[in-house]
Symmetry: C2
Subunit: 429 residues, 2 copies
């Protein structure tokens, strides 16, 4: 029998705070980090994944991966792959671990990483990139991945199958189009809050030259400063380029409304994380007040139940799935289906370390097999730390080129796992 | 200078699953556990607290306490005690740790335990039980404990002070009344899902004999079984005793409504955790459908922002604060103020291990200095594991007797910390 063997777990940290890459209103000095896991089968097969964090506490995620390991080691690998929905629910429904969320925070994120690692193993076995493996599944197989517990008042199994069956027509053509044209990207590289005006404008110019037509700027540093920076970039890039802004939860509800009303005069596509990610009612108040500017959120949304409320109430107009926050591919499939039901475009959160490499698979699966559209959709792109990955993303002309190699994209280079190990690696010693 | 020294941290577990004490629809075999922390000052002062968990994963909470330790060791103790609000925000606002929630799950619970441990130290220094220390603070001092971030659209500092000032009148008289009469309790001891009918009825009879007038039964084991058990107890105790039911999140929204409509014929005070604790909209649907039966929740509500929405929308009619879920005394003060603003009675979650010992202080503070009322309010009581505490609760005639010894109630006996240490203690070897 082919059984899961003990995990390999690494505490990997990048000293990104030294250059203020990734600085925003709430995350002033992140050290992008990964609680990295390699799932091993007795057959010799492997699957790679990680929990993304921003530094301190990465060791807590490592401890959580070890806790989840206890539920997985010894299970039959083929049985897990034959019903990935059941495998995911085995982890998220564990009655004792569940107390530590439930379905949120450190333990939930670790469960997500383990589910993603097993998907990586699965895709390698099939010799497919993850997005193609997912797109090859039948509507019933995809719907079977979803945990409908606490969703069924809004989305039940039959409706999920209907959504997927409607999207079945044209799948092959969309796959061809994706392979030919790629998937649209926007870039956050110019807009970190810790950057000077000069650096922001130089990077904005570079982004336009690279073919990006959509930039995102961090805000939340004070109303005047925010307005000045957004105006600077708008004047520099002209009217033909989209600009979104991201407050990273810095505002109160009333502040968010006031700020967006002021920034809207410069032409804003969406405002991201205007306030607490737990405040569904607050997001709805902001959304109603600032329309037609859209409200976007997702990177800190704990699970499908919160997304259910944000989407069904129209509190968000842009759904920003994250590869490392929820219970892996399975829960993200639930969120894609909810977004499709309510007609809200999915624009994944990426950046950090490895998020681009992983989340692109979900956006491409969404295009081919769920929403069927790339209209009003962009995957976030930040050009940091890709050199640490076995299969780094390719973004050309402002578009993600679909990954073609087998797996889910999370595998880091062996040298990176050694050099950036915390606290023993050469970078930290 | 009096500085915080390194923490003492213990992984303590009780093998409660062996007797199915604590079994319910979602938590079938809990081993009540504590990630236990002793905060030490260079003066020799100590403060005790813990994160309550139900077994597996307790070691992840231990790792989280160590992560929080890194923010606290070396700080000035007197400065922390002089502004406990600022001390709490220092922990919850840490930009890197915050990513792992934000403000939810393992890290948030660990921060809560550390804040509670410092309150324990503070109360010992003053020679007061925690409830009395809190009740001795001025309205401005109490409001200063609250993190108003992401609350201000619903509750701002000035309104919090107003609520507390209105409650100032009569504080002394309420304190006398509390000392004389105690605080009402209800008991969950008879109703665990793993108990036989015989055991349930025998324990119900014992509870009545002990003076309890309010029992809670676990449900969610199937509609027929639930109805049969509730009817059995109703027939046994008669109409003069209150019965609440607790589904521990087992139901979908529609199921919850159907179940409560059926159980309501036996006379139900409240239905607890009818569905996902993250589903504010779902709770509201249930609340509207099952009135006048009240909806109760709280033990799994992650933070004040979720409580803000549940309370302001009237999705809950009973607010069940928990001593170990949110960011300690400080965040529970915010929740007490929100409940007072919306006129929702606070009935704390307790049981587990040590939750009764700790949460009674918050309910008594609420009575003396915030809501000013014991009407429609009961503290949960379960008669397990009190023998492990230095100052076990005293519940007599169905009422909690106010604790008089200094501190917050969390201190466990030294022998317990040795014998129940996991995995090395004598109970686990």
């Amino acid at each position: 029998m082919n059984k899961f063997r003990p995990f390999e777990v690494h505490d990997i940290r990048f000293p990104t705070s030294r250059s203020l890459d990734g600085s925003d209103a709430m995350n002033r000095d992140p050290d992008y980090s990964a609680a990295y896991v390699v799932v091993r089968a007795s057959s010799g097969e492997v699957g790679h994944s990680f929990v993304f964090t921003i530094g301190r506490g990465n060791e807590v995620s490592v401890a959580a991966l070890r806790a989840v390991e206890g539920l997985v080691v010894g299970l039959d690998v083929d049985e897990a792959l034959s019903d990935m929905g059941a495998f995911g629910r085995l982890l998220t429904h564990d009655s004792q671990l569940r107390w530590l969320g439930p379905e949120k925070g450190v333990v939930h994120m670790a469960i997500g990483a383990v589910i993603n690692a097993v998907w990586d193993l699965f895709a390698r076995r099939r010799g497919l990139p993850l997005w193609r493996l997912l797109a090859s599944l039948s509507p019933a197989e995809v719907a079977g991945l979803v945990d409908f517990r606490h969703l069924s008042d809004t989305l039940a199994y039959d409706e999920a199958v209907d959504i997927l069956e409607r999207a079945s027509a044209g799948k092959d053509e969309r796959e061809r189009r994706l392979l030919g044209e790629g998937y649209p990207a926007y870039t956050t590289s110019p807009g970190w809050l810790g950057y000077s005006d000069e650096k922001m404008l130089a990077l904005s110019g570079a982004a336009l030259a690279q073919g990006f037509g959509h930039l995102k700027l961090k805000v939340g540093a004070g109303m005047d400063s925010d307005a000045r920076r957004v105006k600077l970039v708008r004047d520099f890039v002209g009217q033909g380029v989209r600009i979104s802004v991201d407050a990273n939860q810095a505002w109160e509800v009333a502040e968010a409304i006031e700020a967006v009303e002021r920034l809207a005069r410069y032409g804003i596509e969406w405002v991201e994380e205007p306030t607490s990610p737990d405040d569904i009612a607050g997001h709805l108040k902001v959304a109603r007040a600032v329309a037609p500017v859209k409200v976007a959120t997702g990177e800190h949304i704990a699970n499908r139940v919160v997304f259910k409320q944000l989407l069904s109430s129209q509190a968000i107009g842009v759904c920003q799935i994250d590869a490392c926050r929820v219970a892996g591919v399975n829960e993200n499939v639930a969120i894609l289906l909810l977004a499709a039901k309510f007609g809200v475009p999915v624009c994944p959160h990426a950046g950090g370390v490895g998020l681009c490499e992983v989340v692109q698979h979900l956006a491409m699966f969404d295009y081919v097999a769920v929403s069927g559209s790339m209209e009003g959709r962009w995957i976030e792109y930040v050009d940091h730390l890709h050199e640490h990955f076995a299969n780094p993303v390719r973004v050309e002309g402002g578009r993600y080129r679909p990954p073609l190699r087998p797996g889910g994209g999370a595998e880091m280079l062996t040298g990176t796992l050694e050099d950036f190990a915390f606290p023993g690696g050469v970078v930290w010693r």
